[in-house]
């Protein structure tokens, strides 16, 4: 579905171009002609890096012989050995703390949190250490670790398995927060995250894990970690989303097109640091912005985007900024969860409201 289109207004920020910048890294592997799912793209990226960089290792609960509860690491321990792909004891503090120690001493750990709801015990090591090691030691040590987090709702999972908690990390200096929304971007952004010299929280919208397939070239080419991707161009309203909501936003754009409203769709992709320029440039043309966020509304990451628009784009805006978000309550258990998640319908309504202005 959503292959990456070039950003006409700012070609340097298009994904294709960025990939070209990183092409030198490619080992010239053959293209995978078979379309793969987002989770398979993650496995493929992990395998690529394990293959090409001996300092990379994968650790987490059940990532070994079991291949992870989502199968993201399927086959990796068999292929690269238990020294490179390690099951950890059942403790998230341990996973985070060991990763900091490993990263500080020359390794590149790619840790897995089994579900979004289990990252909280990792927060201390991520904020107090991973995000600070370079700054604290004036560059003497640094912490090139990745934490992969299956993220968000919509898969009828048990309690604590459906959380959109990126706001825990987006106010933290020194971290990068990345969220892919297609198999291609999952592959390219994960490679970039692993090669990054500083810690990256890489949140994977689990609702998209197996939702559709895409051909992903297994060429070792990373995507840039500091750009938003313009996935669809439009003139009347800018829809800004990340993670699973990118798909809803694209569907909303289709629906809006039928009503004669032309929506531009931006995948934020990297939340921190934020490429606000791409968003501002789009809003300068459309004059309207609908931000779509799965997390609870108040003080979610969407607020930052809206705030920057209030600061920098006030004279461009023809309509008030709209946020379509989860509600200010916990995502319900699965019988009601779809009532909680931002829907195509809610995005369309918000875009219509915006389009009615100006």
């Amino acid at each position: 579905m959503d292959d990456i289109r070039s950003n006409a207004a700012n070609p340097a920020r298009s994904a294709g171009d960025a990939a070209a910048h990183h092409a030198a890294i490619s080992g010239g592997q053959p293209m995978t002609a078979t379309p793969i799912t987002l989770i398979e793209a993650i496995t493929q990226a992990l395998a690529w890096e394990l293959e090409h960089d001996p300092s990379v290792l994968v650790l987490g609960e059940d990532v070994g012989i079991n291949g992870g509860v989502f199968r993201a690491t399927a086959g990796l321990q068999q292929r690269f050995g238990a020294q490179r792909v390690l099951d950890t004891p059942l403790d998230e503090t341990t996973i985070a703390g060991l990763s900091v120690g490993l990263a500080a001493q020359g390794m590149r750990p790619v840790a897995e949190a089994q579900f979004d709801g289990f990252v909280y015990p990792m927060v201390d090591h991520l904020i107090c250490h991973a995000a600070r090691l370079r700054n604290r030691t004036r560059g003497r040590l640094h912490c090139p670790m990745v934490l992969r987090v299956p993220w968000g709702g919509g898969i009828r999972a048990p309690e604590h398995h459906s959380e959109a908690n990126e706001a825990i990390f987006t106010n933290v200096p020194g971290l990068r927060v990345v969220m892919p929304s297609s198999p291609q971007r999952a592959y390219g952004l994960l490679l970039a995250a692993i090669r990054e010299e500083d810690p990256v929280i890489y949140m994977e919208p689990k609702r998209l894990y197996r939702q559709y397939k895409e051909v992903v070239a297994n060429d070792g080419e990373a995507l840039p970690l500091d750009v938003c991707f313009v996935l669809r161009e439009g003139t009347d309203v800018t829809l800004v989303a990340w993670g699973a909501q990118v798909k809803e936003a694209l569907e909303a754009a289709d629906a809006l097109a039928k009503e004669g409203i032309s929506a531009e769709v931006i995948d934020v992709a990297t939340l921190r640091p934020l490429d606000f320029d791409t968003i501002a440039e789009s809003v300068s043309r459309t004059g309207r912005c609908v931000i779509v966020q799965e997390a609870p509304r108040t003080a979610g990451f969407g607020a930052e985007i809206a705030a920057r628009l209030a600061e920098h784009s006030m004279y461009d805006l023809l309509a008030p900024v709209e946020r379509v978000t989860g509600y200010d309550t916990h995502i319900p258990l699965f019988r009601l969860e779809m009532k909680y998640l931002p829907s195509v319908e809610r995005i369309v309504s918000a875009a219509r409201r915006a389009a009615a202005h100006g």
Binding site: E61, D62, G64, I65, N66, G67, V69, D87, P89, L90, D91, T93, T94, G117, F118, Y120, P121, R156, A157, P158, E159, H160, H161, A255, K258, E259, R297, T298, Y327, D328, T329, H330, P332, L333, F334, R335, L336, E337, K339, Y340, V344, E345, R346, V348
Partner: protein
């Protein structure tokens, strides 16, 4: 070198896997009439478990965590607890929950994606902690409850259970540390079923026993055959008496086995030998107790057949109640968050209700 400290961890077993006593039962447990109702309860739990898996397989339940093989440990723990005590479960101890008053329909609602599954309506369970998914965090909640009892001078105790994997979790250590520091009436029951999803017990820790983790907090430690109901009951009696008499907390390791997959979303064949499972079936808790009760003349095949039918009937009543429970109204998302919900939340609630009430054709496109 001189000796700074020395310790012993005992292992408790009364009824062998073959149904023969390995030593004389504790006096209070010698009368088959004492064990019989618990055996029946174990059968009931197994009937429930079987039915729940069937519901999941037919799309009528979400992911479910079976308890096959844990019946003696769970029922034994439940039997040892009193009304004013507090229990903090993880997610698979239906045998304890039922003894506390939780109704099977509540368990089904929980795994069916409905918060009302944690709104335990009956018995001692009304004050118990809800299901707890973040591993071992419940251990600290139980410690907090035990601290409340201690401060109020109440004679109750708190019990938390976690798995073998759960003993690696920092919260487990924090709970035993505070139990020792405050001498809390707390029992941490470790249900060692050999596996934490795909990770075997041997990969969790270098400790020879999980019971000995209690030494880190100066607690009383005991390892028990968790498939032997008699040993489970006796261990709980010892630890409860210690707790109620101000002698502080315990860690009890119940050795059992997960005869099932981890959950219905798991496929244990990916990581576990069939031979191991087969061997574990030789030690499972039901057969040995049946053998013993039958030998005592307290049980028969005919009784078992009719009790199983009765279990089937009782479980079906619960399943029907579960299936007949309508989905909560959409505003239920908002209604239990605060005692006193803020205006902005009430506005969101009103908007959602309004959206629900719009006719369907207006809602799409």
């Amino acid at each position: 070198m001189t000796l700074a400290a020395s310790f012993q961890i005992d292992y408790l077993q009364y009824l062998g896997a073959d149904g023969q006593p390995v030593r004389e039962f504790p006096p209070a447990l010698r009368d088959p009439a004492v064990l019989l109702p618990l055996f029946k309860q174990m059968l009931y739990v197994r009937a429930f478990d079987t039915k729940a898996i069937a519901l999941q397989r037919t799309g009528k339940l979400g992911t479910y965590a079976p308890c096959l093989g844990h019946e003696a440990t769970h029922v034994g723990i439940g039997a040892a607890m009193a009304e004013g005590d507090v229990y903090a479960p993880s997610y698979r101890e239906y045998g304890v929950l039922f003894m506390r008053g939780v109704r099977p329909r509540e368990v089904l609602l929980y795994w069916g994606g409905d918060e009302r599954g944690n709104d335990f309506q009956e018995g001692a369970a009304r004050h118990d902690f809800p299901f707890c998914v973040p591993i071992s965090t419940q251990c600290l909640h139980a410690a907090g409850a035990a601290l409340a009892f201690k401060m109020r001078g109440e004679p109750h105790l708190a019990v938390a259970t976690c798995g073998d994997g759960g003993t690696s979790k920092t919260d487990f250590y924090a709970a035993l540390n505070s139990a020792g520091a405050y001498e809390l009436p707390l029992i941490l029951g470790v249900v060692n079923n050999g596996w934490a999803i795909s990770v075997p017990r041997s990969a969790q820790t270098g400790a020879q026993t999980l019971a000995q983790k209690g030494l880190a907090g100066g607690l009383f430690c005991l390892q028990v055959d968790g498939n032997d109901l008699v040993a489970v009951l006796e261990a709980m009696r010892i630890a409860s008496e210690r707790a109620r008499s101000g002698q502080g907390g315990s860690v009890i390791e119940f050795m059992t086995y997960r005869l099932s997959d981890h959950t219905t979303a798991d496929d244990a064949r990916r990581y576990r030998d069939d031979a191991e499972v087969k061997a574990a079936w030789e030690r499972e808790p039901m057969t040995r107790l049946r053998t013993w009760l039958t030998a005592q003349g307290a049980w028969s095949e005919a009784e078992e057949a009719s009790w199983k039918e009765e279990c089937e009937r009782l479980v079906n009543i619960e399943v029907d109640a579960y299936l007949a429970t309508p989905v909560q109204p959409v505003e239920a998302m908002f209604d239990y968050l605060y005692a006193d919900p803020p205006p902005e939340l009430l506005a969101q609630r009103a908007a959602v209700i309004a959206m629900e009430q719009r006719p369907q054709e207006h809602r799409h496109g």
